[in-house]
Amino acid sequence: MTTLAVWKFASCDGCQLSLLDCEDELLAVADRVRIAHFPEATRATEPGPYDISLVEGSITTPGDARRIHEIRAMSRILITIGACATAGGVQALRNSADVAEYASVVYARPEYLDTLATSTPIAAHVDVDYELHGCPIDRGQLLETIGALLVGRKPDLPEHSVCFECKRRNNVCVVVAYGEPCLGPVTRAGCGAICPAFRRGCFGCFGPAERPNDEAEAALLESTGMSGPDIERMRRLFDPGTEPVGGTS
């Protein structure tokens, strides 16, 4: 039977919980894969190698940087799950700041910390076979990917904008009809356009869509009344690698 391992790095565990949240499908999953390593769910652990590894979290310590190579070596297919693992996560905001200064402000004894200056995605360290984006990931995409791998087909993981999903589920555009700032036009689909369905602008947790036009998006956000610095903050929250957009603020 196909073996599945679930691993955690710097993260909140929310994406692992998405797997446990598959309540209706969990028994079907358990029928088809043997969960060999999943500390969030069970202390019982089987030694590797594993057919499929789901990796949550970003690399933030020297220990992480070593451990991810061991996991890669034990895994036939490695899938990163969530914004931390695929993009560095919210904690990658440190990448453009001084970690030592942060640590001195937050911790009484910062010298006890052994941390890297950056929070980086898994793919910056090892080869990754599939990436599931989002904060948290979409349950449907997780099941789609596991189901696809079990029968040997390519998982359906679109790279186009969230706008496609908004229109397909008959959401009204929050930018056009309500003047709400929204990152949907430059954000990768996959969530099912949840936030706009509740009249909230997309905040980009799935990361950039294929070939986003950042200049045009900045102009759109400005038209809703956002300032240049706010636009940069909004863009960087889940896309820490984004470069400042010039000439719009």
Partner: protein, 372 residues
């Protein structure tokens, strides 16, 4: 067209009676109503749900509901979706397959459970239905999902008497007057009492009209309806450039203007999704976790997606400029060659619902060298 001897007049009671007659005939009525801060097409039970007293202010990348100072029910434009949503649904299951002891059994697509009466559709959207009919029903390979929904659909159009800021149907020859493709045509009249001129455009429409509490329209009513529609055409703020658009597009294949549009274009696909004639889809196969059940779904797709033109190792249209050019070239140009008609009906949705406010009439005018 609007001749005195065939036009009838109904009032609000007559409109309620129309809803009643449609329900009696087991139609699911789809019409405009206020929902989520827009006037949108939705399933309706009664005429009271129509957007009485509401209008929409539209502009490039802009849509806001506005209270009117009268009770008009059909004076709105460019809603967030067209009737395409009902006849060419965003997602449809084409078939499903199950592994059985004897092999594999397949079923589908499921026949629709509803027969629609589309009420209060403006002439631009009736023209869009004719485009979808040509593309999806009258080609060599009719689309079973569309034809199953379209066959037996009844159309009650409402002539446009108040075009919006983003409308340009007059220059596309698709409105504001109803000239065909409908079973019944309404023209809303407000001065001198809220009433509707009604004309039948088919035997089914004539049969319905006979059962409504109607009286023959007077020449005054007919003239008032004529004037209202003519005024709508005369005051329409936008238009496409003069001259044949296919030639204009073909002559500008290498225009630097495509790069200019691309600098503003988000390639988000909203224009194609709200377009009442954009019909492109992609198909996806899904399997469940047991591996014993598979389904093929299709969903709206868009030429603005990079994946859409992916063939053998890469996308044919990688740049935003090439994707925008593809859309407008097909819509205004090669559609004629392919289907013998324009793909654009001038409804203005792609202008209003473009988050970046890109205006197809301005881009076409720029290609034509007209001052903007």
């Amino acid at each position: 067209m609007r001749t005195g001897d065939t036009a009838q007049l109904i009032d609000m009671t007559g409109l309620e009676a129309l809803f009643g007659a449609l329900h009696e005939r087991d139609y699911t009525i789809v019409g405009p109503t206020v929902r989520d801060g827009t006037v949108t097409m939705a399933e309706l039970e009664t005429a009271a749900e129509l957007p009485w007293g509401w209008a929409a202010d539209t502009g490039p990348g802009h849509y806001r509901l506005r209270r009117r100072d009268d009770d008009a029910g059909f004076a709105h434009c460019a809603g967030p979706q067209s009737v395409k949503t009902f006849l060419h649904p965003p997602r449809a299951r084409l078939w499903s397959a199950d592994r059985t002891p004897d092999g594999v059994t397949t079923t589908g697509p499921e026949p629709p459970t509803k027969r629609y009466a589309l009420v209060g559709v403006h002439p631009c959207d009736v023209a869009a239905l004719a485009v979808l009919d040509r593309v999806l029903a009258h080609g060599e390979h009719p689309d079973p999902v569309y034809t199953a929904r379209r066959d037996g659909t009844l159309v009650v159009t409402a002539e446009c008497t108040e075009p919006g800021e983003t409308c340009f149907c007059a220059s596309m020859g698709t409105g504001p007057a109803a000239t065909g493709g409908y079973d019944l045509a309404l023209t809303e009249l407000l001065d001198g009492g809220h009433r509707f001129l009604v004309r039948a455009g088919s035997p089914a429409g004539a049969d319905l009209l006979e059962r409504l509490p109607a009286r023959p329209a007077s020449p005054v009513d007919v003239a008032a309806a004529d004037t209202a529609v003519q005024q709508a055409a005369a005051t329409m703020p936008r238009r496409m450039p003069d001259g044949p658009l296919p030639e204009l597009i073909a002559a500008n294949r290498e225009s630097p203007h495509w790069a200019d549009v691309a600098s503003r274009c988000l390639t988000c696909g909203n224009c194609t999704m709200v377009c009442p004639t954009c019909f492109c889809v992609s198909t996806t196969d899904v399997t469940d976790l047991t591996g014993e059940h598979a389904e093929r779904w299709r969903q709206w797709d868009s030429c603005f997606s990079v994946d859409f033109s992916y063939v053998h190792g890469g996308p044919v249209r990688a740049s935003g400029a090439s994707r925008y050019r593809q859309w407008i070239s097909h819509k205004l140009g090669t559609w004629h060659e392919q289907f013998g008609m324009s793909g654009c009906v001038g409804c203005g949705r792609c202008i209003a619902w473009c988050p970046a406010g890109i205006d197809i009439t301005r881009e076409a005018a720029a290609l034509a060298g007209e001052p903007s």
